[in-house]
């Protein structure tokens, strides 16, 4: 079920009303309702893969209890690795089986051996990368003693499959979300209204920005050989806004929806395209994944302890794994590697001035220096997204070949002025709201009621009138 579909528009109010009116103050009943609703939400796409979600849930629930009862370190470690093996095994099979087989065969062909193979027509279960990481966080935290084992299966299953964030995050930590399933949720009027505003802003980013950008970006990338360097560059910029609108829009809708049910999810995006350096960009982009890798991979690998070489090695691993997490294609790995290189160079240059605060805080506009830094960082990300969006390395190379030719010094063949206006609106609102949780959070709160209502209706009208052709969320494929 897509957030921007009529199905979801009917599903959400029904679940909401039953949740608060019928199962009021009964946590178990509320959790059961959320579990059923989440399975309906997921099964709407393909009910067969519900078994996979259920199996992962049972495995980690059982391992959690076993970990609590087990005192011997070796056995505890075996339990932990069983959970990791089962979860990553599923992920590896569904997502990476064909990739590994094909590369294995290619490597042998390169050495002069011929191996016959058959690729399997595997369907990638939606959201498998997201819920796998979420369930792993539980087992690892229980193993490390950061979290108490839960014995409430319904609460645990609802935590794993919580429909607002099941298929595309934010990837929640068990330490943050699971306790919320075990405690009483109270309806908070202001939080619910705020949730609706965040959903509205998420829909704008997804339907108006991402879906419109997608039409042009797809046209340009799918017919890249027909276009000049300047058009291809425009395509890359539009894809940059598409992926941001798509993914951060989804996160906003997920967070807003969760608030309606009394849950607080972690922030997933913090205005990343206003970053002044690449390290800041990675603190602001897909925060739930970056921090997951930091906590469960980078730090266990040794982090920056052990000097520069160790830090360099571990950072490279994180970025490569992060690239590979996005998909079984060399383009994603190169994208990750490229970001690792950016990260190193950036951390060397700006060693003493870490951009950890909000850009131009308290000011209307950035300084010239800040503006140039933002522009430079944005250009680096646009360049990296070319690899991310390309079908394969050859495709990326041909696009870059055109972009770095004289054909870039010309007007693009396509100039979607309407879209430029819509992107400008996005940037203005996000810039104005960059000190808040999301762009629209405080906008119009102090206005009088008729004006505020007109503003909301205006937003709804813009979403309906200027919404692009319905596209699936990009991150569903991850």
């Amino acid at each position: 079920m897509l957030f921007n579909s009529i199905d979801f528009g009917i599903f959400l109010p029904i679940v909401f009303v039953i949740y608060w009116l019928i199962s009021k103050k009964n946590i178990s009943l509320q959790n059961l309702l959320l579990l059923v609703a989440s399975y309906v939400f997921y099964g709407w796409w393909d009910w067969r893969f519900l078994l996979l979600v259920l199996f992962s849930t049972i495995v980690d629930f059982s391992i959690g209890i076993a970990l609590e009862n087990e005192k011997k370190e070796l056995r505890r470690r075996i339990l932990l690795w069983t959970s990791i093996a089962v979860n990553l095994g599923f992920l590896g099979f569904f997502k990476y089986y064909n990739f590994f087989i094909e590369n294995f065969v290619d490597a042998f062909s390169f050495l002069g051996y011929s191996i016959s193979h058959r690729s399997l027509g595997i369907i990638l279960p939606v959201g498998i990368s997201f819920y796998t990481f979420q369930t792993l966080s539980y087992t690892i935290d229980v193993y490390n003693g950061k979290l108490k084992t839960t014995r409430d299966f319904i609460a645990f299953a609802a935590f794993i499959s919580f429909f607002p964030q099941l298929v595309a995050g934010p990837i929640e930590r068990a330490t943050n979300l699971l306790p919320q399933f075990c405690s009483e949720r109270k309806f908070d009027y202001s939080k619910a209204i705020d949730g609706l505003r965040q959903i509205l802003w998420g829909l704008f980013k997804k339907v108006v920005i991402a879906d419109n950008c997608a039409e042009y970006a797809n046209l340009i990338f799918n017919n890249s050989s027909n276009y000049s360097g300047s058009t291809l560059l425009l395509g890359a910029v539009l894809f940059t806004f598409q992926i941001y609108g798509d993914f951060s829009g989804y996160s906003d809708i997920a967070i807003g929806t969760s608030r309606l049910f009394g849950f607080s999810l972690m922030k997933n995006f913090a205005f990343p395209y206003f970053s002044r350096d690449i390290a800041e960009f990675w603190r602001r982009w897909h925060i739930s994944l970056s921090t997951w890798f930091r906590d469960y991979l980078y730090i266990p690998l040794g982090g920056s302890r052990g000097g520069e070489w160790m830090k360099l090695k571990n950072t490279l691993i994180i970025f490569l794994v992060s690239g590979f997490w996005h998909g079984a294609n060399w383009t994603f790995i190169v994208w990750g590697g490229l970001n690792a290189i950016y990260f190193f160079i950036s951390s060397k240059i700006i060693k003493n001035s870490r951009n950890s605060d909000i850009v131009a805080k308290g000011r209307l506009l950035p300084s010239t220096r800040e503006f140039m830094q933002i522009l430079f960082t944005f250009s680096l990300t646009v360049f990296a997204w070319i690899f991310f969006r390309s079908d394969n390395m050859g495709h990326a190379a041909s696009i870059l070949d055109q972009i770095f030719s004289f054909s870039t010094i010309s007007l693009p063949e396509l100039l979607p002025y309407n879209l430029f206006i819509l992107i400008s609106i996005l940037l203005i609102i996000e810039w104005g709201g960059r000190e808040n949780q999301y762009g629209l959070e405080k906008l119009g709160l102090n206005w009088n009621r008729p004006l505020r209502l007109s503003f909301y209706y205006g937003c709804v009208l813009v979403i309906f009138l200027f919404g692009g052709k319905e596209q699936e969320f990009i991150y569903f494929q991850f």
Binding site: G9, I10, V17, L21, V460, F464, L465, G467
Partner: protein, 291 residues
């Protein structure tokens, strides 16, 4: 909680009213809607010629030229209409008025349209007899393009001054064709011959013994091909079906690049009058209207 639900319901009620208001506004101001309403309320029509198709025909064929020659003619074409829509409209017309036109013109642009699009134009669908209404019929979603046309009317004199005449949408706006010929272009005949939607349309005409004239409309210079005008034949329908390639390099040589266009391959009022005059002469030469 109750306060929240009450406010949300009020907001949705407001949204429903907004939709109603939008629908009323569109019905009163949108050319497509106005034209659709007109065509559903003819008083005992006796048309000899019906023009169907999309915006190329809606803007580009002037019914007056045929009326002046003694043919009762109406332009039913709608901007953005698929061939499937044209078929539905023709069926509806025959069914509703119990009258069969002698000729049907179907102006198309292979360079701009998808001939296998099965979707029905939202305005036609909304007013169809057997249509089952659902959430997808919310006017703000369904008539998006009408809303954008309304915005154009608000900001542009050219759009405000446009008007309908016997179904033709007349624009006086001028846009220069600054494109160049591409001599390699060929007439994509297969696109016509293999289009299921087009075959269905022809079948309907054949069933009622209507002369069906399919015309590849003249477009901007960069769309014109070097192939003959035709007529090209549909083997399945030996009689009463003509396909003419009027977008070859020679036929539209009367077009003034500076004066005759309103936009991308769409003729303005003057261009449409010129084209319709030449179309009539061309039909006379080829004895199409003698059938």
């Amino acid at each position: 909680m109750k306060n929240f639900i009450r406010k949300v319901l009020l907001f949705f009620l407001g949204f429903a009213l907004l939709n109603l208001l939008y629908l009323l506004l569109i019905i009163k101001t949108d050319f497509t809607f106005m034209k659709r309403m007109e065509s559903l309320n003819f008083q005992e029509p006796n048309h000899d010629i019906l023009i169907l198709g999309n915006s190329l025909g809606m803007d580009g064929i002037d019914s007056d030229i045929f009326v002046a020659q003694g043919y009762d003619c109406y332009n039913l074409a709608l901007g953005g209409a698929s061939i499937a829509t044209s078929k539905q409209m023709l069926e509806e017309y025959i069914d509703k008025y119990n009258h069969v036109p002698r000729f049907v013109f179907l102006p198309l642009g292979s360079y701009i349209s998808n001939f296998n699009d099965k979707s029905i134009h939202p305005v036609v669908e909304f007013n169809s007899k057997n249509h089952h209404y659902s959430f997808s019929d919310l006017p703000i979603t369904k008539f998006k393009s009408s809303g954008i046309e309304l915005l154009k009317k608000i900001v542009s004199d050219d759009h405000r001054n446009a008007y309908l005449n016997l179904g033709q949408l007349r624009f006086s706006k001028v846009r220069v064709d600054d494109t160049n010929y591409n001599e390699k272009l060929v007439f994509p005949l297969e696109k016509f011959l293999l289009s299921n939607q087009l075959l269905e349309f022809i079948k309907l005409c054949d069933h009622y013994n209507i002369v069906c004239v399919i015309v590849e409309m003249p477009g901007f210079k960069n769309t014109r091909n070097s192939d003959p005008i035709g007529p090209y034949l549909f083997k399945q329908f030996r009689n009463n079906v003509y396909l003419f390639n009027l977008n070859n390099i020679e036929f539209p040589n009367w077009i003034d690049d500076q004066k005759h266009w309103i936009g991308n391959s769409h003729l303005n009022e003057i261009g449409a009058r010129e084209f319709s005059n030449r179309l009539f002469d061309f039909f006379e030469e080829n004895k199409i209207l003698n059938n």
